[in-house]
Symmetry: C2
Subunit: 342 residues, 2 copies
Amino acid sequence: MITIYDIAAKAGVSAMTVSRVINNTGRISEATRKRVRKVMEDLHYIPNSMARSLVLQKTNILSLLITDITNPFYTTLARGAEDAALRAGYRLLFANSDEDYTKEKGYVDMILSTRVDGVLFAPTGDQSLENLQQLQKHQIPFVVLDREIPGIEADLVLGDSKEGARKLVDHLIALGHRRIALINGSPDVSTARLRYTGYREAHLLSGIPIEDSLVVHLNYRDFHDESALDALLSHENPPTAIFAANNMLAVGIIQSLRQRGLQVPGDLSVVCFDDFGPAGAINPFLTVASQPAYQFGLLGMQLLIDRIEGDPSQELRKMILPSELLIRTSTQPLKEEPWIQT
Amino acid sequence: MITIYDIAAKAGVSAMTVSRVINNTGRISEATRKRVRKVMEDLHYIPNSMARSLVLQKTNILSLLITDITNPFYTTLARGAEDAALRAGYRLLFANSDEDYTKEKGYVDMILSTRVDGVLFAPTGDQSLENLQQLQKHQIPFVVLDREIPGIEADLVLGDSKEGARKLVDHLIALGHRRIALINGSPDVSTARLRYTGYREAHLLSGIPIEDSLVVHLNYRDFHDESALDALLSHENPPTAIFAANNMLAVGIIQSLRQRGLQVPGDLSVVCFDDFGPAGAINPFLTVASQPAYQFGLLGMQLLIDRIEGDPSQELRKMILPSELLIRTSTQPLKEEPWIQT
DNA sequence: ATATGTTGTGTTATCGATAACTCAAAAATA
DNA sequence: TATTTTTGAGTTATCGATAACACAACATAT
């Protein structure tokens, strides 16, 4: 591997002179500069960023930690983050926690050992507190995405979960539904709590009582647990609509319903949070509260870079991005004769 | 930031002793080991991987370069690659070229300056030759994914583009279609050439003549160019079916067709390469040749790690993964009265 | 003509870790 | 008891780059 000393030797100068040419610092005569440049090109020299980071105490790497790389919400977010980072001259170290606290912890160690300049952090849930505190101890700047963590003071980019949930539930109520199930994420994720709050408020404002047995908590990442649906559907007075707290849950739910021979929206209407990206654009089916995923990434990264390069004592910022209700064909007015379990 | 010297000082030993404790090398008395461990934990010490990489000449980082992070094929592939890399104790540096040669080049420079131990490389197309040669010059091991590059000898993981294309076209032919358009990727991408070959063979074997005006080349990443469809649809004898060379093209095409008031599959049948991941699982609509994306990533990464850690003079391996024809509802038998342009 | 400034370049120390070598003290052997 | 071996450390040099300082050679000002 070619080093700065190889270049220096071939160009007949010192390593420092080569360094000056690379970084355009100090004074260099035009003749030397040209000579050094030529040698660098001839030997295809690329500076070792490890060595540079070591002395500069700056890596020029930012990290993006997301919770599910197969979820279009996060991949679109990643695009936004990538664009912002590249534009500002940073490299991006991706990490994917799979909604798994242990994996998240592993990535945090890796991030720390890499000495990245900052982290755009989508936490798995409240238990991420420790991992974020770990970053704080090491004084790594970070911005928290999508989920607020009690006990952590940081720049934040959130969606309006409560309002989005209200819009979705209001829509169902307007269609005549009165028995609406909520299949939620884990209760130690802030968005799940807020989506429940929105669900609740929509009911209260319409004077519809809430029934605890219609609310279940699962994992945002995938729908494994058939027993939750079992319970809901075998309810003496089953729901006529389901509010899935995110897109991945909705996919699992709908597949499961169909396997049971139930039609959406014929037998049950279904709505959810988060849209499906390009893959879902062919037959947009689900009525969703769509969040501006790209903006999440872009804004979050801008906040992060600003925090790193700007005044670090600047006060914390909290951005709440609105979600948009997109009414599609997974919902329909309540039928006179709701579906009755056989 | 805490260094190995801080630990050494607090524990009353030399830095070398701490290093031995960290790496479990050399001889250390149980007493010292415990003492050092305790100090490391108390101070939340995490070794600086830059410094370590510098002296070890090994980063423990592998890079995955994909061409479109919003394409479910690549994100699923990324999951496979991530799993394999993590399992083997490597960190993963993601990069996303957006099917853009210039961006790819930028990432290759970044990869080189990071001195990663190896690259899993999904090239944008034949022009990636230079970027791959750049890696070769610097003796970075790599495995090429999905697209073969003339002039590059390397381990390869490919899909069976020709066979997949034949299956898709055969299916259309079996449904009675005789005028099948191919909306292909750029001709300097090997998969596009092979998909054309498969398309051609299917025609030949069925004795159906090929018409050049039914074959167009676009970019795999997205469907911007409406003029291609314009031309096809205003053809004096327009196609009754479209074979889109990948999933993203298919999305754009179907959206465009619908905007023109044409129904799929009512007016035209549509098939494509690559499936849509979880997002498309709700209403699987498109008849596709599905490639084992996760396997692509997993196998590719295994080959790479084996190349790095195993015998480097081992001969090159080329794996071809089959694709599976999934018949869904975007295709239907040719109607007696095909659609006629108004 | 001497003092002062500017320009272009080299020297040395440093970042944080580890390899290779060294070495005293304790343990094992003769 | 004298000698060799083993154990548990410490020292020094190194990886590849850059910051801070040093310093000739030449230009300009007094």
